[in-house]
Subunit: 328 residues, 2 copies
Amino acid sequence: MKTVIAASLLTALSFSAFAERQSSEPIQVIEPVVGLDQSKVDLGKTLWFEPRLSASNTISCNSCHNLAKGGVDNLPSSIGHKWAIGPINSPTVLNSDLNFVQFWNGRAKDLREQAAGPIENPLEMAFSHDLAVDTLQSIPQYQAWFKAAYGVDTITITEVTDAIATFEQTLRTPNSPFDQWLKGDDNALTTAQIEGYQLFKEKGCTACHSGPLAGGQMYQKMGLVKPFATDNPDIGRKAITGNEFDKFVFKVPTLRNVELTYPYFHDGSVWQLEEAVSMMADLQLGKKLTKDESGKITEFLKSLTGEQPSITLPHLPPSADETARPNI
Amino acid sequence: MKTVIAASLLTALSFSAFAERQSSEPIQVIEPVVGLDQSKVDLGKTLWFEPRLSASNTISCNSCHNLAKGGVDNLPSSIGHKWAIGPINSPTVLNSDLNFVQFWNGRAKDLREQAAGPIENPLEMAFSHDLAVDTLQSIPQYQAWFKAAYGVDTITITEVTDAIATFEQTLRTPNSPFDQWLKGDDNALTTAQIEGYQLFKEKGCTACHSGPLAGGQMYQKMGLVKPFATDNPDIGRKAITGNEFDKFVFKVPTLRNVELTYPYFHDGSVWQLEEAVSMMADLQLGKKLTKDESGKITEFLKSLTGEQPSITLPHLPPSADETARPNI
């Protein structure tokens, strides 16, 4: 009886803490997406690992957004067709459906639009939408899967990117220690992490890194207070809008799973998380952190590592005689 | 009661057919390996997908022996470091523990010896054993996993290759239609497949393609009766033994899952299975197959596609500050 009361009390307290924290904290809980069409999810997962969407038949979505590695490749920028070096750091696919726009410069409004990009990018998969679709259409098993998921006999890039985007919606990372704390478990965070979170708020980091992603909700200039020194020629949003004041303006990246998604910044120039924290405080907020402060904020950021998606590798159907052969 | 008797009768008949077929047929059933050390299997699976065993941190075992693709990359020869094109077609890892030796020219006696090769091959992962081991040793989670699996504080290449080889032993593909037929299920094969199997034996294919792998038990000259025309400069076993009679002598490849492991032959020059069948009959046995014969043998070969391994992608532990950075 005592146990029941204690448990009920704990639950009530937890709910109360949850309600309070949820309403007052700048970072919100991430939950799994429910209600997705499983046939589209399964097809999208298969396409995610499908290197025949690339000219060489060796590069898949997972090559640069590796689900074994926090949804990234841990390179400054990705390696594509014929060892081309990409122009910008590969953002994580984890929780990416929660970004307000896609790509560093926001040139895609959602994951469907985003998924179309790398297939035809000559530095990435170096294929074309037509060739990718022709490849899928030539394989009887893909014909059957697209028919079952979308009711179509003729596959188009629309179904391809919709399936990939639907799969990507499953790539949430719930139940991080921070989320457990948000939900009322006071023991989910260490003292250093709680102090780090307080510092994170006090120093002003949450001005940009807020919402369920701790980021991904707005654009911001890289080098707001002091210029960011980089060899990377990317000019950010200016390339899209043409406006001078959009120079070096990028989407604020998520800090979810940031412990796994090194190296940091759009140029992938910084490998240590604590160094990235200190630099951001300095360049974006004009504040010099002590070693103790940057260390505690780093500890807090590690509490944003959630449960990584459990992915069973698909079995890709074999090519048919008509399927185009790789261009190496 | 009738059902029970009927079922018992069926079982008895099945066992009897199994016993007869098992003792008389040149190709034998494949079964899963049991009794492996799970901590080594799990560690080996993680290492299988670990691109930090390569200089660029982008190439893993799975890059060329893709478990989503029948354990191969479906390329004439693999793409390695800085887009190097390898000298020979990538053999499937599926059931590879049953090969009597490893590599096309048999230069490794077992999977442990084989696994050490690609890591330091400049055309493949282009790393060194020392650098690969240093990388693993620098990551606390790997230290803990190697300690748990092997009881060692200091990782060496021996544990690395042992873990990978132990995982590879799990990559059997049991329960192919042909194996079900071998076990006594007369309905597991189509009429064309049974006729194709009879032809496969009558034409003499089983002289080389026998045993549980339907291959992998001996060396044989490629172009035994008529020369094999190829641009590939590989001289086969001669490179190992120095003997002129070993020129163009290679390990006979397995035909298990051959439907998935195109393109065919050590040079990866033939993409259609039926064409490969006709060529083999001509070059190795001096026999011209009719279209009907090559078609039926091809149908039989497709009955050798077994259950593909169900692989849950590992979550690779993040690098530490001391971990060497990728060499791109």
